[in-house]
């Protein structure tokens, strides 16, 4: 296994899938000549040419819809949003077309399209560029939502997303592109969607999270270990489909749950998971489920304010202590 960055892992996934299937093409702003705003598509234009690595105008609604139309008639687009924040302009096509065409046509179309791009807060990018929108996208039946947190997951899940016959929204961690990790070299290293992974085994409390926040959770678990608390960290990896069995298993194991997400609490993924746990594992709970999320405010610019509203390992530790009645 080679140690590569999250960015390189994504690049490998794109490269391998484009090699494997001539119907796969990548389209988005700056993906070609510029090699990608975050250099995820580096080298692909030279390798695959202008029909398969397509620089678009700044026109998110238009090229997102283009992707859906291309997918419904049989090819396999990967649509890159420079960030998911800009995809808000394209949500009509993602929600009203991609997520619904199969259902409202009575099953006549497959929509093998992947929408991908970075999500979440970076550093001092202020309110419009710091959002975690996976919970909003996951709200819509008909679309799948994947949020990898490590280089290996980034590669294995992106390959699965591209091969999938349903629309997949793929959320990359903007702060994770330089993260290094071991990634299998295998061309067929595919991680099936809907399979969560225990990133750290533990017995006292379950921290359930996804994406960038797994690193916050793991950091918190390290801090807790010094206090003699053995926290389990479950990485959901995909939000839709949701690995309910893995959630219930960790709840049954520890009986105490802290949920962490980078987005807002209102209608968030943690809200859904909390509802699910009380519906299906009420008797397994020994404490109320607590959540760590971004503060329910638009992201402020000032450094000190930004830090104050983001989820942190300290906050996770605090909530863990509360569910442990300490």
């Amino acid at each position: 296994m080679a140690v590569v960055t999250y960015r390189e892992a994504l690049n490998q996934a794109l490269d391998e899938e484009m090699q494997r299937d001539p119907d796969v093409f990548l389209m988005g702003e700056e993906v070609g000549v510029y090699n990608g705003a975050y250099k995820v598509s580096k080298g692909l234009l030279d390798k695959y040419g202008e029909m398969r690595v397509v620089d678009t105008p700044i026109t998110e609604l238009g090229f997102a819809g283009l992707g859906v139309g291309a997918a419904m008639t049989g090819i396999r687009p990967v649509i890159e949003f420079m960030t998911w924040n800009f995809a808000i302009l394209a949500f009509d096509q993602i929600f009203n077309s991609a997520a619904k065409l199969r259902s409202m046509s009575g099953g006549q179309f497959k929509l093998p399209i992947t929408f991908r791009g970075p999500t979440g807060a970076a550093l001092q990018l202020a309110a419009q560029h710091s959002q975690s929108l996976e919970s909003q996208v996951a709200h819509y039946p008909g679309i799948k939502v994947v949020v990898p947190g490590t280089p290996a997951d980034a590669k294995g899940l992106l390959k699965a997303a591209i091969r999938d016959d349903d629309p997949v929204a793929f959320f990359e961690g903007e702060m994770l592109y330089n993260l290094k990790g071991e990634v299998p070299d295998d061309d067929d290293f595919v991680i099936p969607l809907g399979v969560a992974e225990v990133k750290r085994e533990g017995s006292d409390v379950s921290i359930i999270t996804h994406g960038k926040m797994i690193h916050v959770a793991l950091q918190a678990a390290g801090m807790l270990e010094k206090d003699g608390i053995n926290a389990e960290v479950l990485d959901l990896r995909s939000i839709r489909p949701l690995d309910v069995d893995a959630i219930l298993a960790t709840v049954a194991k520890t009986n105490r749950v802290v949920l962490v997400e980078e987005g807002w609490p209102f209608g968030g993924i943690t809200a859904t998971v909390a509802a699910l746990i009380q519906e299906e594992a009420f008797d397994m709970l020994d404490a109320p489920i607590l959540r760590v999320t971004q503060a329910d405010v638009p992201m402020p610019y000032a450094k000190v304010l930004e830090k104050a509203v983001k989820p942190s390992a300290e906050l996770v530790v605090e909530k863990v202590n509360r569910v442990l009645y300490r």
């Binding site: 009986n255 009420f282 008797d283 397994m284 709970l285 020994d286 404490a287 009645y325």
Partner: protein, 484 residues
């Protein structure tokens, strides 16, 4: 502050109630705890008590009217208070009922683990009446003298009728550390509730270590551990428990039992048999008993106690013999809980009584510890009130074994259907003269009776049931053995 009077769930299964008679008129002054009306439930006629004081301003239904549980049926308020908003709104869900009624009810439902105990008992309890909580059984620990025996009543005296209740909310002094909120609800995590229900730990007696005194997993585990240790010496010799004075009220609170986890073989037997017939796999064992000795004993007792008005029936003797036999055969005095077999520490015999609209089984509690005369008196009294529909829920729930006697109808032999979650029921036929051939080969006329035991095969196997019947037959044919 106006008080809504709801149609309360006065029996475990009650969904609606018929208001038999209002005992207070509009305009009457009522105090909290006053009986407002008599309500016919699906099982009995119950008293509906006031949960607030003031003037009974409005009765929203009349005598003979029926209302769903949770419906506002009257309003108590101050003399000048505007109650128009309350009297206008008719349907109110039970969940919105005053917390005094609501909270304990939820508590029990949560703990009952399949037992169908609703608001009825709770409502009565909240009104300060006797509360034999059949759902909230005590742990073995609490059944031991050290923790449960003489629980003093809140005022420090020991009321004869006061149950050794699982620490009634009022008794809790230190609200900061007790797992009880002000309205009497025990605070416990869902997991703690489930564990308590499965293990028999009584949450009311557990000190909560969570925030606000919430009982959590570790607290129940601690209680279970303590209970297991305390139980050990008593377990093998349950029959040797010091008998309480016969006249003592049954120690209903803190009633103990022991859950024996299912062995794989037991589980397989249970599953396969349940698949074969109905939810309860019944089988039936019949034995013929010579009642000569029992009838002679009965005559002597009746003669001796004639001046006290005691009249023992053959059935009373059978109850006594059954209770004594159950002591020797714990597998028959047991219940199927789904994932365990529950052995009851007490022997409570349900006696089927035919009433106008069907059948009800008042319970003779601790029948094994009562004399025949006492049983006779109690059965007569209970049966009388059963026919008048005046039984309280606690008087017809909680039996560990039941008995049905159709001998008075001349029925020679029949099978009875088990009263879940009990594991067996005894069907008693008529005592009639029969010609029998004795051991020496001589023919003689004897008073014979056939009894049939219906068994839940998940709990009782053929041999177990047969051994019980053998013991029972021995007791009835030679009653002296019961005290030997």
């Amino acid at each position: 502050m106006a008080t809504k009077v709801y149609m309360e769930a006065l029996s475990p299964t009650m969904e609606e109630g018929r208001l038999a008679t209002w005992l207070k008129n509009e305009g009457d002054e009522v105090k909290e705890g006053d009986v407002l009306a008599e309500v016919e439930t699906d099982k009995a006629t119950m008293e509906l008590v006031a949960r607030g004081s003031g003037i009974l301003r409005k009765r929203l239904i009349g005598d003979g009217d029926t209302a769903n549980v949770g419906t506002v049926i009257a309003v108590i308020a101050g003399p000048d208070e505007d109650v128009s908003a309350l009297t206008g709104g008719a349907e109110v869900k039970a969940e919105q009922a005053p917390s005094a009624a609501e909270a304990p009810a939820q508590e029990k439902v949560a703990q009952a683990a399949g037992s169908d105990v609703g608001q009825g008992a709770a409502a009565v309890a909240a009104a300060g009446e006797t509360e034999p909580d059949s759902a909230e059984r005590g742990t073995p620990a609490e059944a031991t003298p050290s923790t449960a025996a003489p629980t003093p009543a809140p005022d420090g005296t020991s009321k004869e009728s006061a149950p050794a209740a699982p620490e009634p909310p009022e008794a809790k002094g230190d609200a900061g550390t007790e797992a009880s909120s002000g309205n009497g609800r025990v605070k416990a995590s869902p997991l703690a509730r489930k564990m308590a229900s499965e293990s028999g730990v009584q949450l009311g007696g557990v000190q909560g270590s969570g925030p606000g005194g919430r009982i959590v997993k570790r607290d129940v585990e601690a209680a279970m551990e303590g209970g297991a240790q305390a139980q050990q010496p008593a377990a093998p010799a349950s029959a040797e428990k010091p008998a309480a004075a016969p006249s003592a009220p049954p120690a209903q609170a803190g009633e103990g039992y022991r859950d024996q986890p299912l062995s794989p073989m037991r589980k397989t037997i249970a599953k396969r048999l349940a698949q074969s017939i109905g939810p309860i796999p019944h089988f039936f064992l019949t034995v013929e008993v010579d009642m000569g000795e029992s009838m002679r004993l009965r005559a002597r007792i009746n003669e001796r106690f004639a001046d006290q008005g005691v009249k023992v029936s053959p059935n009373d003797l059978i109850i006594k013999a059954v209770a004594a036999a159950l002591r020797k055969h714990p597998w028959v005095n047991a219940s199927w809980t789904g994932d365990a077999i529950r052995f009851h520490d007490h022997v409570h015999i349900g006696v089927a009584v035919a009433v106008d609209e069907g059948l009800i089984t008042p319970v003779v509690r601790d029948a094994d510890r009562k004399g025949v005369a006492e049983i006779a008196t109690e059965v007569r009294e209970l049966a009388g009130r059963a026919r008048e529909k005046k039984l309280k829920p606690e008087e017809y729930t909680g039996s560990t074994f039941s008995l049905s006697n159709l001998g008075m109808f001349g029925i020679e032999e029949f099978t009875a259907v088990i009263n879940p979650p009990e594991a067996a029921i005894l069907a008693v036929g008529a005592i009639s003269p029969k010609v029998v051939v004795d051991a020496k080969g001589d023919m003689a006329v004897r008073q014979r009776m056939r009894v049939t035991l219906s068994c839940d095969h998940r709990v009782i196997d053929g041999a177990t049931g047969a051994q019980f019947l053998q013991t029972l037959k021995g007791y009835l044919e030679d009653p002296m053995l019961m005290i030997a």
